[in-house]
C-alpha cells in the first residue's frame, strides 16, 4: 500500500469499473463489498437512513455472487490499487470455497466479514462464536495464498477472545469494527424506516467505540489491526494509530465529501507526522498505552 488509508467495505466498491477512480482519489487500498457464493438481492428500499453522526443501513449484503464478481474483476486491464475482497458465508466450507475461487484472480487480501449486524445466519451470528470463528479462519486459510483479515463486531462479549482465537487459527490481521445494530422510527407513520427495521450504525457516532475496541485488541493480541468506524478526518486516523491500528478504513465519510476525503486524510496524516517529526506511522502505533 502507498498509504494506510483504505476504502471500507460496502462503500462504492461493488463494481470493478469504479476501482480506478478510487485509486485516483488516493486510497491505499480498496475493500470490496462483501461477496457470497450465490448472488443476493439484499433488502428492498429504504436501505439507508441518515442520523446524527452517521447512517443506519441495512443493504442486506446484496452482491452479484462470487462467479460474476470474479469474472468482472478479471476484466480490469490492470489492477489500479491493492484489492481486499470482503467475503461472507454461513459455513466454514463456504468461506473455503470463496477463497479458492478467488485464488486465480489478481487480488491481494481477503477480509472475512464475521460481523454484519443485520443478516441472519451470516456475519455477526458466526462472529460471536469463538469455535465458529476458528473453523471459518482455518477453512479460508487452507486455500489462501494471500493474507486473511477478519472483520469483527464490538457486539460480542469479548472482542479480545475472538481476535485471539482468529489469530491462533491463522488470521493475519483484524479489521475493527463493523457497524452497530441500530434503528430509526418515523414518528408520523410510527414505523421503523428501514425495510429490515434493524440496520447497522456507521459514522462518527461510533468512532469512540471503535477506538476503544482497537485499544483493547492492540494491548492483548499481537496482530496487525486496521481501524474502522467513524473516520471522517485525518485527526481521527491519528487517533486510531495511537490506539493501536496500523492502517484505517474510511466509509461513511465518503457520503459527505465524496472520494476526495481519502486524499484529504492521507495529506493530513503526512502533515501531522511532519509537524511532530514522526518518521513512520509505526512510531506512533499503540502509543496511547505504550507511553503511559
Amino acid at each position: 500500500m502507498n498509504n494506510p488509508v483504505m476504502l471500507a467495505s460496502g462503500v462504492v466498491g461493488v463494481h470493478p469499473d469504479i476501482f480506478p477512480r478510487v485509486a485516483e482519489a488516493g486510497a491505499g487500498a480498496i475493500v470490496t463489498k462483501s461477496i457470497s457464493m450465490e448472488p443476493r438481492e439484499g433488502y428492498p428500499n429504504p436501505t439507508v437512513v441518515e442520523v446524527e453522526g452517521g447512517f443506519v443501513n441495512a443493504i442486506g449484503l446484496s452482491n452479484p455472487g462470487i462467479d460474476a464478481f470474479s469474472k468482472e474483476l478479471a476484466t480490469l486491464e490492470e489492477k489500479p490499487l491493492p484489492i481486499v475482497v470482503s467475503l461472507f458465508g454461513s459455513t466454514p466450507a463456504e468461506f473455503g470455497d470463496l477463497v479458492s475461487k478467488l485464488e486465480s484472480v489478481s487480488v491481494d487480501c481477503y477480509e472475512l466479514n464475521l460481523s454484519c449486524p443485520h443478516v441472519e445466519k451470516v456475519g455477526l451470528e458466526l462472529g460471536q462464536d469463538p469455535e465458529a470463528v476458528a473453523a471459518v479462519v482455518k477453512a479460508a486459510k487452507k486455500f489462501a495464498s494471500r493474507p486473511i483479515l477478519i472483520k469483527v463486531s464490538p457486539h460480542i462479549a469479548d472482542i479480545v477472545e475472538i481476535v485471539s482465537v482468529a489469530k491462533d487459527s491463522g488470521a493475519d490481521g483484524v479489521t475493527a469494527i463493523n457497524t452497530l445494530r441500530a434503528m430509526v422510527i418515523d414518528i408520523e407513520s410510527g414505523r421503523p424506516i428501514l425495510s429490515n427495521n434493524v440496520g447497522g450504525l456507521s459514522g462518527s457516532a461510533i468512532k469512540a467505540i471503535a477506538i476503544r475496541s482497537v485499544y483493547d485488541i492492540s494491548q492483548k493480541v499481537d496482530i496487525p489491526i486496521i481501524g474502522c468506524g467513524g473516520i471522517t478526518r485525518w485527526s481521527d486516523a491519528i487517533e486510531f494509530f495511537l490506539a493501536g491500528a496500523s492502517a484505517v478504513q474510511v466509509g461513511s465519510a465518503v457520503a459527505y465529501k465524496g472520494l476526495d476525503i481519502l486524499s484529504e486524510i492521507v495529506n493530513g496524516i503526512e502533515k501531522y507526522m511532519n509537524n511532530h517529526k514522526i518518521k513512520k506511522i509505526g512510531d506512533i502505533i499503540g502509543r496511547s498505552y505504550s507511553s503511559q
Binding site: H15, E41, T47, S62, D186, G258
Partner: protein, 241 residues
Amino acid sequence: MCSTAAPGQFAMIWAPGVGEVPMSLSFMDGKDTCGFTVKSIGMTTKELCNKKKNDNIGIRGPYGTGFTSISGNCLLVGGGTGLAPILPLAKILVGKGADVTLLLAGKSKNDIPFLEDTQILLSNSKHKIVVTTDDGSYGVKGVASDYVEVLLKQERYDMIYTCGPETMLKKIFILAEEKIIPVQVSLERYIKCGFGICGSCSIGRYLLCIDGPVFTSKQIREISNDFGISRRNINGGKTPI
C-alpha cells in the same frame, strides 16, 4: 429544499411500510413547493398513486446533478415517464430566453403527460411542440429518435436535452454526435442510498446518484461500454438493457 432543485435532480420518496423509490422532480416553484409525477408501475409507485391529500410520505433530497440550462436553440426530447424532468427544464429555458423545440414521445396518447402544460408554456410562436406516438394515436406516428433525425436535418441546435428509455437516448446521442451537437442525457439506474455511498447505481466510473443522473456528451463517451448496453440489477450484476 427540493423546491429550489435544478430540473433533472431527484429525491427518494418513501411510502411508509411499502418502499422507497427515486423520483425526478417534475415541479419546483423556487420557493416552498415541489412536485413529482408518479406512474404506477411497481408496489411503491402504486401506493404513492393511491395517496390522498394530507397523507404523509417521506422525501429526502434533492440529490444528483441536474440539467445545465443555456439560452440558445434547444431541442428537448422526453419519452414517457422521462418527460418528468423535461417540463421544469423547459420552463427555465423559456425564462432564459432560449428557443425551445419540445418533442414529447410515448407509446400512445395516454403515455404523454404534461401535454396541456407544455402547450401553455410554449405558446409563443418561436417555440415548437412535436408529439410522437408509437401507435399513431396522437401526433406523428413513430419513435422519437426518427423524428429527432428529421429535426436535425432542418435545424441547428445548440444543445439537446433528453430523458427516457435508454435505447431512445442512445439513438439520439449517436445522431447528436454525428452532427457534433452537445447533449445532456438523464439516465436511470437502481438507486439505494442516493448520495454516493452504496455504489449500487454505478455506470462505468460514475455513480449515477451524484455524478448524474444528467450526464454530458463527454461523460457518456466515457461510459460507452455500458450506455444503452447494460445496467446493474438489484444484486449488482450486469443485465443487458
